[in-house]
Point group: C2
Chain length 346, copies 2
């Protein structure tokens, strides 16, 4: 692992720990306990807190403070005064968690972060309500940062439209599963809505709250969109190229389950009968050799390279968008996070 | 029907029509169509629009404009400038609709407003997503009224905490169904959270947006809480006292299904074995005579009168809270709505 990669991992871990300390302060288990325990359950089960980390690093870079030295609860703004950046960071994490809880119901996924999904650990009603509670809590958090009122309104508009876009993306994702033909462009649009807009919100909301100009806010939003899309594409690639032991699940499971990814959608455009790439129709029964052959075929028609290049282009664009920030350590770490998202191999 | 009752009904219908005209403007069916059609489905199925009516009437009274003469989209504020009161009214209606969609999933209710519930007409995933979409749309609407930024932040804080409270109330409602002993006080607290806070939001948010002082905002919030609680208690009473033909369902069905209401909780405190009041355990098989006997027993121990008096006291308190408003026709109609909620017999 390179020195820079290690620096980025350390930066993420340090901010993750701060977020984890703040969570029980702002989201205590209170009456009715059952509801708040269920709302906290997935949050407490872990997670890298990548989106809050991006939010906090943007704030640190914009104000040019030495990383981790400022009090996130009383963070200086560009216009004088203070704003609670931790409250904003929690808003983003809590929205991410709400979408995971509801998505797991829709996909009937049994496991998340190594523990039972909320609707399995509790029940359907509790999971719906826990998600709904986190939803309003996120707005409470983002309305209570103490930033200037105009900034607060703008930041909350971003959060509200982001949530609407996420619902649209999830709706498209479900629709695409039932469709025969989806183009790579449609897939990338779905990924933008379902995944990338929340990175866009995480990167732009601190700039809005702290009083940055419109050009800076827009560039940071685009940084978030770029890295968010690259993140999803890398997930698709890892499923094909990372050994099962390292992946924590069967390599190639997306192929076995006929899941549409940027790789398979490109291959289909090249005339590959993607549904026939793997004959075995259960993840348990498929052999490594069969996956190897399928991946080799995808490589031959250029689909692996296409997805990798698309991801690399997005990261390059993302880093270019960071040039609106002062040249400091926090910006260097944000560039590192962009690389980290496509260099990670698990 | 009294003249005043007719005036109140006319006032509600007139504002309902305005709300119905505005809905497709602010919530058009757009891509992905499936999601937005499902989000509009229950809204388009009908509804009295009582909460938006309360919101619009408070605005009219505060600014002392002749009812229905002002442009709700460009409504004058107390501080100069304009604010879109229709957008605020839609925010409240859309939150109400989101909670109905998700509650119907939790209770597995098949019908709502005479049509299949969203999760029956579509499916579980679509219903969860439609509710989630309306949730963020409500914040979009309330962030975009054009009111002063500080007012906008305060109004959205009210909306966010209201949504959190509604989730808490629904969680308590589910919990109470599994508990043997619930006190009338606990029941009233649950009703406050589940039902009344949204009336509180509907009555206070226009005052916040338009620049009223804190005392006025608080009094209007309490008006909403009062009438919201009274509304639920009246629902409980109607189930016992209104003929089945008029009710549109079997009279006494709450008793047959052992649903806890303020009436039955009071009766239990008087030593009545409420579970045994009606022997028949299906709504289809119960006889009118059996219901008559049960209601007579509830009347004897004072439970009907207790609930009626509690409702009347709440309405009196609600009307007193309206005294912060100028003495004008809109206030007269808001008083009338309070009466209307407990005088209605269907």
């Amino acid at each position: 692992m390179s020195e820079r990669h290690q620096q980025v991992e350390d930066a993420i871990v340090a901010r993750r720990d701060r977020v984890n300390d703040a969570l029980p302060e702002d989201l205590p288990v209170q009456k009715p306990d059952h509801l708040y325990e269920a709302s906290r359950y997935l949050l407490d089960a872990g997670g890298k807190r990548l989106r809050p980390t991006v939010l906090l690093l943007v704030a640190e870079s914009l104000l040019d403070v030495d990383p981790l030295t400022a009090d996130y609860r009383d963070f200086p703004t560009l216009e004088g005064g203070q704003a609670d950046m931790m409250s904003a960071a929690l808003a983003i994490e809590v929205i991410q968690t709400f979408t995971l809880i509801h998505d797991d119901i829709m996909d009937d996924d049994a496991l998340r972060r190594g523990v039972p999904a909320v609707h399995k650990e509790y029940d359907l009603s509790t999971a719906i309500l826990a998600g709904d509670t986190l939803y309003s809590k996120a707005f409470e958090f983002l309305l209570e940062t103490g930033a200037a009122h105009e900034r607060t309104v703008d930041a909350n508009k971003r959060l509200a439209t982001t949530c609407t876009r996420i619902c649209e993306g999830q709706s498209l994702d479900i629709e695409f599963e039932q469709r025969d033909v989806v183009t790579p462009e449609e897939y990338l649009e779905m990924v933008e809505l379902k995944t990338a807009v929340l990175y866009g919100a995480a990167a732009s909301i601190p700039a809005t709250l702290l009083g940055a100009d419109e050009q800076t806010v827009d560039a940071l939003y685009n940084y978030g969109l770029d890295v968010g899309r690259a993140f999803q594409i890398q997930d698709d690639l890892l499923d094909l190229t990372t050994p099962s032991e390292k992946l924590g699940k069967q390599r190639g499971s997306d192929l076995v389950e006929n899941k549409q990814t940027l790789v398979t959608l490109h291959a289909r455009q090249q005339g590959v009968d993607v549904g026939d790439l793997v004959d075995t129709d259960s993840v348990e029964a498929v052999s490594e050799a069969e996956i190897d052959d399928a991946v080799e075929r995808l490589r031959e028609v250029g689909s692996i390279e296409y997805a990798r290049q698309t991801g690399q282009d997005l990261i390059a664009s993302g880093k270019q968008n960071l040039e609106v920030l002062p040249d400091n350590e926090a910006r260097y770490l944000l560039e590192g996070i962009a690389n980290y998202l496509v260099e990670r191999d698990y």
